[in-house]
Structures are given as structure tokens and as C-alpha cells.
């Protein structure tokens, strides 16, 4: 069993090997066309088994394990690579391997007829390698390396259908938005490193020594500097987890194939931002300002995204805003100190949101690549399994007892009770969540079919993963809530002494659930069978509000305006400066050199007589110079 523990670094290596085999095998045309699934699913299965075996060998106290080896020497700095695993890391490992496994199986059905089938599996394997390495990173720098690598995988997968201009643009947008966040993150890391340069007792930037380093940095930088540093680091998660104001890439990222939306842009990669906050908790917790900012960014994102989701007609975009909103909950939880609740929600969300996305993929597949919910409806009859699992997911996300979202989300809302405004946001957003989720459900599966094709249920390879995901979506919250006599989630995953009161608070739960039920009723009235309230009438009545939401709070428009009116003129000015001033100086120098070259060339007139004149003239001149100097 010790081999399993020592060799946990192998878990990311399995998908890397699968990646290499696919790339080399397809390149040399040895590998058959459709062998990607077997390889990648196999590697992920191996990873899952390894994780589970590790878990069983790890107990009973679940002490964090950290191993590092020097990797890069640069002057007095030595960077290390290694692995660090604690309860939060274990949680992420389990989520990534299990959700990946199911999604990779599903992909075989979804992408079967796509010409890029093998390429898609190669990217999936690359992503798995990067994500698992990120989770296992032993120090912040290593994490940053893999943070960028998941970004690259995400970029490649968003732009998977790169011949579509919209996919290429979405990939570029995701890349740019994440660059902004990564710029902050890297700057923050460097600032942290600057203040703690000679301090590290173990490997530089290792997570095991992070709390000591945070104290040293606080002492060296002062509270203001330290807060700035913490906020710079927070910029990374803001972009990666699509928090306001760097969120606009996530809805566009839905241009990628749906399995990707489920895996990367719902369950795993976007959660990496929350995971980074968890890993850097020692830094954030000692800066009250940073914590407040984190909480508010999360809360505002949760609310704004939920409001935008209300107006979406594209099923994947609606789910994307829902993801953003739920990530907002998690970030808010981190900001108010509810570490365990945030990660708990991360886990439940990973299961039900992955499932919801896969359901949407099944719907899109069944309706022949139709994503507009206005052209759906009545699909319950045609694809019952998809509809049933979608309903499970919807109930789970809305937080209805006893489904998993109920336990995790209400734990966050309960923890925020000491901050009334955030609490109010949490409760209202819960109501909005119920509304927009049931809206998508009713629009898609109820009523009459409004499209023109012939919808059909998806093949077995696609619906089996849906059912498999439905089980944890429904039950895992209750199982780990501490109500069943089983140990609670917090028993495993916690950060030092709890900062806020944790555990189910039934008064809060009642309140948020009544809001959720209110949302459900409203959705049923508007989109359910009787259609008692006409959405069209509401749209005209609340026209300005609707416009605001329909235009996604004008974030994209604002960014375009800034790009067009600030950035581009500045760029033009810089270009002008470069062309006229800088190039002018260069050009002047060049023409001077050229002119003198031309002048010197005239000496070379081809007549040997004058050459000899110069020969002796030079000797004479040198003689005079020497006499004069010496």
C-alpha cells in the first residue's frame, strides 16, 4: 500500500501517456480511427482506481502528504516540483477522475461522427493531465504552471471547431480574459516571493509553509501592501472561475462541444479558481479587506449571473450563467470564511452541473444540433431518460430537500447570516435559480414540440453516464450532511478552526427553500402547462429591466466600448510614436551609416596606384600619430 501512496504522482501520468499514444499513434497512422475512447477512458479509470486505493490506504487520520524535489535552479532561487495532498486535494481528485470518466464515456457517443474524434480525445487527455497535476501541485509556482496548462487545454477545446468564426473568437476571448487574471496571479506570486525570498524553510512557495509565509509577508509588506498582493492573487480565480468583471468568456466558451462545457466549464477547471482560493487560504484569511472583496465579488456574481440566466434562450448559455452564479456562491462562501461549505458546494455542483450539461448535450444531439429552447418543448415524450435526469439536476440545483444542492447551498447561505446584505443576496439568488432552472426545464421538456426535426432519445453510451451522475446529484448532499449518522463533509474537509458557524441551519433552510418554491411556482405559471402569466407581456411591462438583462448588464458592450474608444486610440498613438519617433531615429542612424558607407566606398576606385598611395599615406599618418602620442 505504501507504493500507492508514494506513487500518487502517477495519477496525472496515465492520461499523459494516453495523450502521447494518441498523438504519436494517429500521426504515424498506426492507431485505428476510433481507439481514442478506449485509451483515454482506460487511463482515467486507472486514475480513479488509483485514487480510491490511495484513499483506502491513506487513513485513518488523513494527514496531508507533501513530497518535493528540486526542479529548476536560478541563481539563489530553487523551484521545486512535487505533490501535496490533503482532504481538499483528495476531494478534487475524486471529482476530476469520476466526472471525467463518465464524460469521456459520453463523449464517445456525442462525438462519434465528428471528423476530429481522435483529436478531441487527445485534448481531453491533455486536459486531464493538466488538471490532475494542478490538483496535486505541491507549491504555488507548480500550480501556476499547470494553471496555465489547463488554460491552454481549455483554449484548444473551446476552439475545437476552429473553422467556425464564432468558436475561434470565443477561444480568443477566453484566452484574453484569462490572461488578465493570470497577469494578476503571476504578479501576486512574484510579490509574495519578493517579500519571503529568503524565508522558506522548505521548498519555495510550498503550500505546507504557506501560513508562515503569509505572516512573514504581512510583516514585511504592511497591511496595505499585503492586501494588494492578496487581491492580485485573487485575480487569477476571478478569471478562471468567471467572476465579475472577468466573466464574459464563460458563456462564449459554450461554442465548444458540449462534453467540454460539462467537464471543463462546469465541473472541474472553473472550480480550480475556488480550489486556488482554498489553497491560498492562509494568505487570504489574514487580510479582512481581501476576504470582504472575495465575498462581495462572489455574491454579486451569483446574483447578476442568475438574473442574466432568466432571459437566455440558448439552453447551454442559460446553463453557463447558472454555472457562473453557482461559482459565485462558492467564492462568496470562501470570502465569508465558510471554507468547508464552499468546497462542499463545489463537489455537489460538479456532479449536478456536469449532468445538466450532458443532458443539454443529449437534447442538442436529439434535436439535431438545435440549441434554442424556443424551438424545443415537449421533449419529455421523446427522450424520457434525459428529461428525468435533467429534472433531478434541476431539483438538485434549486436546493429542494433532500437533494444535494439543498445541503451545500444552504450551508453557504446559513454561514452568511452574520452579513445581512450577502445573506439577502444568497436567498434572493436561490429564488432566481429555481426560476430560471425550471424555466429551462419547462421550455425544453414540457408543452408541445415547437421544432421541425424528429427528436429522439440518445444512445445508451450517452444516457448511462447521465444516470450514473444522477445518483450523486441526488444523494451525496444528504449523505455527507451529517444527518444520517455518517461523518459530515466538514469532518473530512476543513480549514483550521472554523471561522463561521457551520452545519445545517433549519430556519435559514426554510427561508431559502420558500424562495426556491416561489421561483418554481412562478416558472410553472409562466412556462408550465397553464401559462397563466404571459412572458411576452412581462417583457413589455418591465422593458428597461428586460433590456438590461437581455444585454447581460452591458458588460460586453462596455468592454467593446473601452476597446474601441480607449484602447485602440492609445494603440494607434503608440504605433504612431513607434513609426515616426523611434523608427525615425533608427532610420536616421541607418541613413547616416549608409551615407558614410557610400562615402568610404568612393576611396575604393579600383586603381592600384591610389591604393598604394593610401598604403604609404597610412604608414606616414600612423608614424605621426605615434610620435605625437609617445
Amino acid at each position: 500500500m505504501t507504493e500507492l501512496i508514494q506513487n500518487i504522482w502517477l495519477i496525472p501520468i496515465y492520461p499523459l501517456i494516453a495523450f502521447a499514444i494518441i498523438v504519436l499513434g494517429r500521426w504515424s497512422k498506426i492507431l485505428p480511427q476510433k481507439s481514442g475512447a478506449a485509451l483515454v477512458v482506460g487511463s482515467t479509470f486507472l486514475g480513479l482506481v488509483h485514487t480510491l486505493l490511495f484513499l483506502s490506504a491513506w487513513g485513518p487520520h488523513y494527514e496531508p502528504i507533501s513530497v518535493s524535489a528540486p526542479w529548476l535552479h536560478a541563481g539563489s532561487l530553487t523551484l521545486s516540483m512535487g505533490y501535496y495532498i490533503d482532504a481538499a486535494g483528495m476531494l478534487m481528485l475524486l471529482i476530476v477522475t469520476s466526472v471525467s470518466l463518465l464524460i469521456q464515456i459520453y463523449t464517445h457517443g456525442y462525438m462519434y461522427h465528428d471528423p476530429g474524434y481522435s483529436r478531441f480525445y487527445a485534448y481531453l487527455a491533455l486536459f486531464n493531465f493538466s488538471m490532475l497535476s494542478l490538483v496535486l501541485s505541491s507549491n504555488l509556482f507548480q500550480m501556476y504552471v499547470f494553471w496555465e496548462m489547463v488554460g491552454v487545454s481549455s483554449y484548444l477545446l473551446i476552439g475545437f471547431w476552429f473553422t467556425r468564426p464564432s468558436a475561434a473568437a470565443a477561444a480568443t476571448k477566453a484566452f484574453l480574459m484569462n490572461r488578465i487574471g493570470d497577469f494578476g496571479l503571476l504578479t501576486g506570486i512574484l510579490v509574495l516571493l519578493y517579500f519571503t525570498w529568503n524565508w522558506w524553510p522548505g521548498p519555495v512557495l510550498s503550500f505546507t509553509d504557506m501560513s508562515g509565509a503569509a505572516q512573514v509577508a504581512l510583516h514585511a509588506a504592511g497591511p496595505v501592501g499585503f492586501t494588494i498582493m492578496a487581491l492580485l492573487i485573487f485575480m487569477g480565480p476571478v478569471a478562471k472561475s468567471a467572476q465579475i468583471p472577468l466573466h464574459t468568456w464563460l458563456p462564449d466558451a459554450m461554442e465548444g462541444p458540449t462534453p467540454i462545457s460539462a467537464l471543463i466549464h462546469a465541473a472541474t477547471m472553473v472550480a480550480a479558481g475556488v480550489f486556488l482560493i482554498a489553497r491560498m487560504y492562509p494568505v487570504f484569511t489574514i487580510s479582512p479587506v481581501a476576504m470582504t472583496v472575495i465575498a462581495w465579488v462572489g455574491g454579486i456574481t451569483a446574483f447578476v449571473a442568475a438574473t442574466i440566466a432568466i432571459t437566455q434562450v440558448d439552453i447551454k448559455k442559460a446553463l453557463a450563467y447558472s454555472t457562473m452564479s453557482q461559482l459565485g456562491y462558492m467564492v462568496m462562501a470562501m470570502g465569508i470564511g465558510a471554507y468547508a461549505a464552499g468546497l462542499f458546494h463545489l463537489m455537489t455542483h460538479a456532479f449536478f452541473k456536469a449532468m445538466l450539461f450532458l443532458c443539454s448535450g443529449s437534447v442538442i444531439h436529439g434535436c439535431h444540433d438545435e440549441q434554442d429552447m424556443r424551438k424545443m418543448g415537449g421533449l419529455w415524450k421523446h427522450m424520457p431518460i434525459t428529461a428525468a435526469t435533467y429534472l433531478v439536476g434541476t431539483i438538485a440545483i434549486t436546493g429542494v430537500l433532500p437533494f444535494s444542492g439543498f445541503w451545500s447551498k444552504d450551508e453557504i447561505i446559513g454561514a452568511s447570516i452574520s452579513q445581512p446584505l450577502l445573506f439577502a443576496i444568497g436567498v434572493v439568488t436561490a429564488g432566481l435559480t429555481a426560476f430560471y432552472m425550471f424555466r429551462t426545464y419547462f421550455m425544453t421538456f414540457h408543452g408541445e414540440y415547437r421544432g421541425h426535426s424528429h427528436p429522439h432519445e440518445s444512445p445508451k453510451v450517452m444516457w448511462i453516464p447521465l444516470v450514473a451522475l444522477a445518483i450523486p446529484s441526488a444523494l451525496i448532499g444528504f449523505a455527507l450532511s451529517g444527518q444520517l449518522g455518517l461523518p459530515s463533509f466538514e469532518h473530512f474537509v476543513h480549514y483550521g478552526v472554523s471561522l463561521v458557524e457551520n452545519g445545517p441551519n433549519f430556519a435559514v433552510m426554510g427561508l431559502s427553500m420558500s424562495f426556491a418554491i416561489g421561483g418554481y411556482v412562478l416558472a410553472w405559471l409562466m412556462y408550465g402547462s397553464p401559462k397563466l402569466i404571459s412572458p411576452e407581456r412581462l417583457k413589455t411591462t418591465f422593458s428597461p429591466l428586460y433590456e438590461l438583462l437581455w444585454n447581460k448588464w452591458y458588460f460586453d458592450n462596455a468592454y467593446f466600448w473601452i476597446a474601441k474608444n480607449v484602447y485602440l486610440p492609445f494603440a494607434a498613438l503608440s504605433a504612431w510614436f513607434d513609426r515616426t519617433i523611434i523608427d525615425g531615429i533608427v532610420g536616421l542612424t541607418a541613413s547616416t551609416v549608409n551615407a558614410s558607407g557610400g562615402a568610404l566606398r568612393t576611396l575604393q576606385n579600383g586603381r592600384v596606384q591610389s591604393y598604394l598611395m593610401i598604403f604609404f599615406g597610412a604608414i606616414l599618418t600612423l608614424a605621426i600619430v605615434l610620435m605625437w602620442i609617445v
Partner: protein, 516 residues
Amino acid sequence: MFDLSSLTVMSQQNLFYLLPEGILTLGLLVVLCLTIFNPKKTSEENYALMQVSLITVLLALSALAWTFLRVPVITPQKAAYSSITIDMFGYLMRMLILLGAGVTIAISHRFLEKNTRIVSDFYVLIMGASLGGMLLASSNDLIMVFVALETLSITSYILAGYFRRTIKSAEASLKYLIYGGMGTAVFLFGLSLVYGLAGSTNFQDIGIALVHYHGVVHPTLIVIMLMIVAALGFKLSAAPFHMWAPDVYEGAPTPVSAFLSVVSKTAAFAITIRMLLILFSGFAEWAVIWGILAVLSMIIGNFVALKQHNAKRLLAYSTVAHAGYMLLGLVVGTSVSVSSLLFYLVTYLFMNLGAFAAVIAFSTLTQTDEITAFSGLVQKRPWLTFGFSICLLSLTGIPITAGFFAKFFLFQSVALAGPVYIWLVIIALLNSTISMAYYLNIIRLMVVKEPSAEVEAISDSAPTSSALSTALSFCVFATLLLGIFASPFYQFTTLSVQQLAQQRPMVISQAIFQKK
């Protein structure tokens, strides 16, 4: 003396060490006889003679390596009545000269076949010039210096006019002869004055005799210095004694230009370094003279190269510029700087020969060596473009090629020698920047531009000489190898300079080498 058996004489005079020169002479005579007694040769026979010459050079190289390994030179040895010194410096220089000769023979065959009917004489002359260069590199006596130098020079005059029916080639030869004759006259005059002062032609004796003049401004000595500098500057093609070089390089057959710019220059540097370090090491005035020559060479070489339209002429000016860089090592004269200079000489041999080989390959294909004609070459001959580009990048001094480390070591050693030398380094760096413009321009043309009419006309089936492509590959490989594994070669050059230092008159051993 002749009552001794000739074998005893040989062993007494260490003639064993001159085995490479012996082999070269023998091969030269064999090829010469075959040439004379069979004037009208078929192309196969010419090819066979080329192979014989190449094998001779390779045998001489092996003999060089064998003698070097057989009797390690721990301290410098004298040979042939003290007229020859055998030391590591000499070994290094002789190796470079032989390598240069070998590459020149390999790259010239197809070119000669295409342009003239008399092919094999060329190899005789190349071997003769190399023999002169090798003796020059290890000579220890003024008479030997002069004889070896003339062996090198006179064969070079003939080589420059090898295409005697071409007016340009004949003109180049004549100009070279007149200019060279003047240089020789001045040199001989200078040497006779040295003899007059020192009363001996032996380097060690002269060194000891000149010790009396250290620190004294003696007009005769200044005249001597200037005359030697002028003559050697002519051989090194250092400005302002470079005027012959562009005309000769352009007019002479391209392989000859390659040979002159590399082998002849290496031999000239060898004797310059040897004389400077052994005879005149105690005189500070050299630094000023070489400094002036270095700066002028860099500036004139690079500035005028910018304006050239012809690849051969461009390379001619670029050799002037490189001579300027290398002279910086002499200006400072520390052991580090001189060994950096030697390292530069090694890399220069490969990168410059490689560049010339590429020009020869190109002009054999297209009958032109105008720079604009190189446009779009990558589309027709990608490997030739690659090899040429590597050599040009190395000449510019771009990292991972040897040229970068050569410049880096040399400029660093100059900069570290003292604050007064920083200015020289700044001038050198500015000049390398300028050189980028004309070197990289060729790469730009070859890679980016649409093919020129000449390049379009290259047929895909046009043969490439295997000897030429091997030689070019060898140069490119060496350029990259020296860039990646610079330090073993650098250690060898350091050892060479240490052995040179041992041969100076003891009295002044602290004068220059203790500077740093």
C-alpha cells in the same frame, strides 16, 4: 655536418615534427607530375586528381594529429636549426590551415570544372600555399618567416589570376601582385632593421636583444613596428591596408577568395601573434597601432559592406570587419584575450568557409553572385539556404552558433582588461549591430521574398557536387558544434597561448601577461 648520417640529422633537428609538411610536399609533387605529364585530362582524371589532393591533405592532418599525440609537446620544441618552433599554438594553426585547404579543395572542384579546362594545377597551388602557411605559422626565424610568407604570397598571386582568360581575374592577380610586392618590400625592410638592431634572425635572440629598448622611445623601433604592421596588416586585410582585398576577392575565382580570406589570414594571424608575443611583447606602442587598425577595420568593413550588391564583395568587406574584431584581442594582449582571439579564428574559419561554399554552390547553379539573385532560394534549395543562413547568423554573432561565443569571449576579455578598453567594446558592439543589417538581409531575401529570375531558372535536376555539399555540411556542423560545446576548444586555445608565453625572453615575462 654531412659526415653524420642523415637520420641522425633528422632526429637531432626534430624533423619528425615536420611530417605533415613532408606529406603535403610529397602529395604536391605527385599531383604536379601527373599534371605536367598529362596536360589534356578528362574530367574523370581531374576528379581523381582532386581526390588525390584531398587525401594528401587528410593524410597530412592525420600525421599532424599523430605527431601531436605521439610526442606530446609539454614544452615548446625547436626544429630545423631553431628556425621552426613546435608548440601547441603551432599545432592549432597548422590544423586550421590544413582544414581550410581541405575544404577549399572540396568546394572548388565543380566550380573549376564549369569555368576552366585546367583544373588540377589549382590543387598544386593550394597545397603549395598551405605549405607556406604552415611553415609561417611555426617559424622561429626571420629568414624562415620571409621565405614561408613568400611561398604563401606568390602562390596566392597565381591563384588570384587562375582564370587567366577572364579580365577580372587577371586584373585581380596583377593588383594583388603589385600591392603584395610593395608589402613584401616594406616587410623585408622592417625585418632587416630588426636584424640591424638585434644582430640575429632568431626570435629568442632578438627578444633578448630588444629587452634593452623597453620603455625607451627609439625612432628605429617605431619605424620597424610601422613597417611590420603595414605588411602584416596587408596580409590580414586590416584597414587601412585592406584596399586590395575587395578587388582581389571579387575578381579572383570564388574558391580562391575563400582560401585567401581564411587560410592566408589564419597564417598571417599566426605569425602576427607569434612575433608580437615573442619579439615585441615589451612595447606598449603596439596597443595604440593595433587599436587604430582595429577600429578602422571594423568601421570601414561594416559600413562599406552595407552598400555592396555582390555577395563576394560583401564577404570581402565582412572579412575586413572580422579582422577588426580579432585585432581587438591583440590590442589588449592579455592571455585571455589572445586565447579568445584564437577561438574566434577557429570559428571564423568554419563560418566564413561555409558562407563562401554556399556562394560557390549558388553561383555554380545560377552563374551569378549578385545579392538580389538570392531571393526565394529557400523554395528551390532549402538545405543550401539553411546552411548559408547558419553561417550568416554565426558571422552576425547570434546565439547557439559559434560566432556568438567567439564574439562573447573576445569582447568580454577586452572589456575586463580595463576601463580604457570599454570604448573599443562599444564600437565593436555597434559594428556588430550594423553587420546584422547586411547579413540578415541575405537571409530575408532567401526566405521571405519571391524567387528571382535566376532562382526560378534552377532546374530541380541540377546536380549538386557531393564534395561541395559535404564540405558545406561540415562547416555548418562545426559552426553549430563550436557553439554548443565551446569550452573544450576554448581550453585548447588557452593552452596554446600559455605555451607561447613560455617562449618569451624571461626578463619581461611580467610585462604584458601580468597585466591582468
